[in-house]
């Protein structure tokens, strides 16, 4: 059982199967697009419809009740696909057929007769009346200046049709596009509108109701076409610019190093993606996925813009499917690698190290571990990129993550000083989280009563939310000195004067039952320990 539809084809009524209708509809659409949208084209399509209607009528006469898909296929073979028609027809090339390209003015095509790669440059040359050699040089220079022209070339190669027929070559080299020719073509179109009105009044079809309505429709269509042409260019230009800029930004973010694009105000060079993935594995996949998922809509935007501006008619279904397919592939890649990456964060563990020290000294000196022949990490920090537990620095042209530890000072329950180091990280499972935690290079140094604590540490290449902190337990009665270099890492230190952490440095504090109490003593000259 099949659903049938009733159609009116050129004045005759037919019953037609649902699938046959779809096929016929697509075919007629293709034909319409092939011949374009002017009045001649409309007439041609009407003639073709009339002929199809006649063939169907013949079938009905021979006892067929419902038009099915094989009838439609048969008709298509008889009438020819648009490709077959354009192979056979030559009328556009004839000099008398000037209407076909006068209406369009000059069109952008790729020139297959003067090409190095795809004929894009020679086509552009024809369009803008410039020697293609100049355009080629321009493209090559731009290629070395950042590679954007390569992308532009590829896009043009895809979107701009090749000038195959003589008519297309004529259109390619046709009337120069400038203010004069534009105003001329608008005038000509206005003339057509007037003529149409006149024809409408004088033509014998005036009395013929159906055709009369068509004429009025055509006149309206032509007025709208003039407005449409202007509107398309106005819309097309922003499409093209927005698409191109966004695409360049996207590629800069995904692929380029920070130094080329770091100077651009809207693109910050830091590529956080680098730190999320194990080098060489998921990173490349996620980059490809992102490039596809964000890039393809942008490319389509650019294509739409170019089509609008240069009024390119294409009915390239293959391109649509290719882009659609690539987009889906991109989504799959993102889902898959995104899942893998999330998995890398599923478990968290902390590695703790206790260190009890016994010292006869009454006062403990605490200061930063700095400048001990190692790199002073904080000096290379990028001030614009400051996250919760880490900062971003730039070392030898590469972005590195710099962890900021926390230093807490608490009261000890017994009479011993205790240093507790906590290193925390996430990972795919507990062992890998532990390995990640153990890889954090955060070690203090101690000599007698002086303890030097790192105020920053370099994180490994792969970021798994690593953190490190040091807790120092001081027995009641002991005094500590906090050097000013610890200002940035002191965290929530309880004191009897309710002082803020950053104000507590450069001072002596004695541990009491209820917290650290301020002691007034001369400020010493503390020298950080060296390795």
């Amino acid at each position: 059982m099949k659903k049938t539809l009733t159609i009116n084809l050129s004045g005759s009524v037919f019953h037609i199967d649902d699938d046959a209708y779809e096929r016929l509809y697509t075919y007629l659409n293709k034909i319409t697009r092939h011949f374009g949208s002017d009045q001649d084209a409309k007439e041609i399509v009407e003639d073709i419809e009339a002929r199809i209607s006649e063939i169907f009528a013949e079938k009905i006469k021979n006892g067929v009740e419902v038009i099915n898909i094989s009838h439609v296929e048969e008709v298509i073979v008889i009438m020819g696909t648009p490709e077959a028609i354009s192979n056979e027809e030559e009328e556009k090339a004839s000099p008398t057929g000037k209407k076909y390209y006068r209406m369009g003015g000059r069109r952008l095509y790729r020139d297959p007769e003067d090409k190095i790669l795809g004929g894009v440059c020679s086509g552009l040359g024809s369009y803008f009346s410039i020697d293609p050699v100049i355009i080629r040089i321009f493209f090559v220079l731009l290629f070395f200046a950042g590679g954007s022209s390569f992308l532009a070339y590829l896009i043009l190669w895809i979107v701009v049709p090749k000038a195959n027929s003589t008519a297309q070559r004529l259109e390619m080299k046709g009337e120069e596009v400038n203010i004069d020719s534009i105003s001329k073509s608008i005038k000509e179109e206005m003339q057509d509108v007037k003529e149409n009105f006149r024809n409408y009044r004088t033509s014998p079809t005036y009395a013929h109701g159906r055709n009369g309505i068509n004429e009025v429709g055509n006149t309206l269509v032509q007025v709208l076409k003039i407005l449409g042409t202007i509107l398309l260019v106005i819309i097309g230009i922003p499409f093209l610019i927005v698409g191109a800029v966004a695409l360049i930004v996207l590629f800069a973010l995904l692929f380029a190093s920070s130094h080329i694009f770091g100077a651009l105000p809207f693109v910050h060079g830091f590529n956080f993606m680098d730190f999320l993935y194990t080098p060489g594995s998921t990173l490349s996949w996620i980059t490809i996925g992102l490039a596809l998922v964000i890039g393809i809509p942008l490319v389509l935007l650019i294509l739409a813009g170019i089509k609008m501006i240069f009024r390119i008619k294409t009915n390239n279904h293959i391109m649509g499917s290719v882009f659609g397919g690539l987009f889906l592939i991109g989504i799959f890649i993102l889902l898959f690698s995104g899942g893998t990456t999330l998995g890398e964060f599923s478990k968290q563990t902390t590695v703790t190290n206790h260190d009890k020290i016994t010292t006869s000294a009454d006062t403990i000196f605490l200061c930063a571990k700095k400048g001990q022949g190692e790199l002073d990490l904080e000096s290379i920090v990028d001030p614009d990129l400051n996250f919760n537990h880490f900062k971003v620095g730039n070392l030898d042209g590469k972005d590195i993550l710099i962890g900021i530890p926390e230093l807490r000072i608490e009261r000890a329950d017994d009479s011993e000083i205790e240093l507790i180091t906590n290193k925390t990280s996430r990972g795919m499972n507990i062992p890998s989280a532990r390995t990640n935690a153990e890889n954090i290079q955060f070690n203090y140094l101690r000599k007698d009563s002086l303890i030097s604590i790192p105020t920053s540490y370099q994180l490994p290449k792969v970021w798994r939310n690593q953190r490190a902190n040091l807790k120092i337990k001081i027995p009641v009665g002991k005094t500590i000195y906090l050097d000013s270099s610890l200002k940035s890492i002191l965290t929530d230190v309880k004191n009897t004067t309710d002082m803020y952490d950053e104000d507590m440095v450069n001072k002596y504090w004695t541990m009491k039952q209820e917290g650290l109490a301020l002691v007034n003593r001369a400020i010493p000259n503390v020298k950080p320990l060296k390795k």
């Binding site: 050129s10 004045g11 005759s12 034909i31 011949f35 001649d40 007439e43 041609i44 003639d47 073709i48 009339a50 002929r51 209607s53 006649e54 009528a57 006469k61 008889i78 009438m79 020819g80 696909t81 648009p82 077959a84 028609i85 192979n87 056979e88 027809e89 030559e90 009328e91 004839s94 008398t96 057929g97 209407k99």
Partner: protein, 109 residues
């Protein structure tokens, strides 16, 4: 160069001439023209004919009128205009010339 393409090119060049020739005998509607052209193996797909008819009409060589049909909706009957007749006679001359030229080349005289 493939042979089918060359043949198609040859046919294309004289298709206009053929249409005018067919219509010079009596006014016909598109299906009749197609029938004759198909019998003479001049066209492969019918879709080719319509753009050609439209162009010849726009150039003033053909005109058409609607005629009621017994079997269905009205049909478009094409006929040669005066300009068409003149155009045809010019094409006749140039065809004869072509035939002579080819004959000469073939026989080497």
């Amino acid at each position: 160069m493939n042979i089918d393409n060359s043949k198609a090119q040859m046919r294309k060049g004289i298709l206009e001439y053929c249409i005018l020739l067919i219509l010079s005998k009596k006014p016909l509607y598109a299906s009749d023209i197609i029938g004759e052209l198909k019998d003479a193996q001049m066209i492969v797909v019918e879709g080719t004919l319509y753009p050609l008819l439209t162009r010849l009409k726009n150039d003033g060589y053909l005109s058409y009128r609607w005629e009621e049909s017994l079997q269905g909706p009205p049909r478009k009957y094409y006929e040669l205009s005066e300009a068409g007749e003149k155009f045809l006679s010019e094409l006749e001359i140039s065809w004869s010339e072509l035939v002579i030229a080819i004959q000469q080349l073939r026989t080497g005289k």
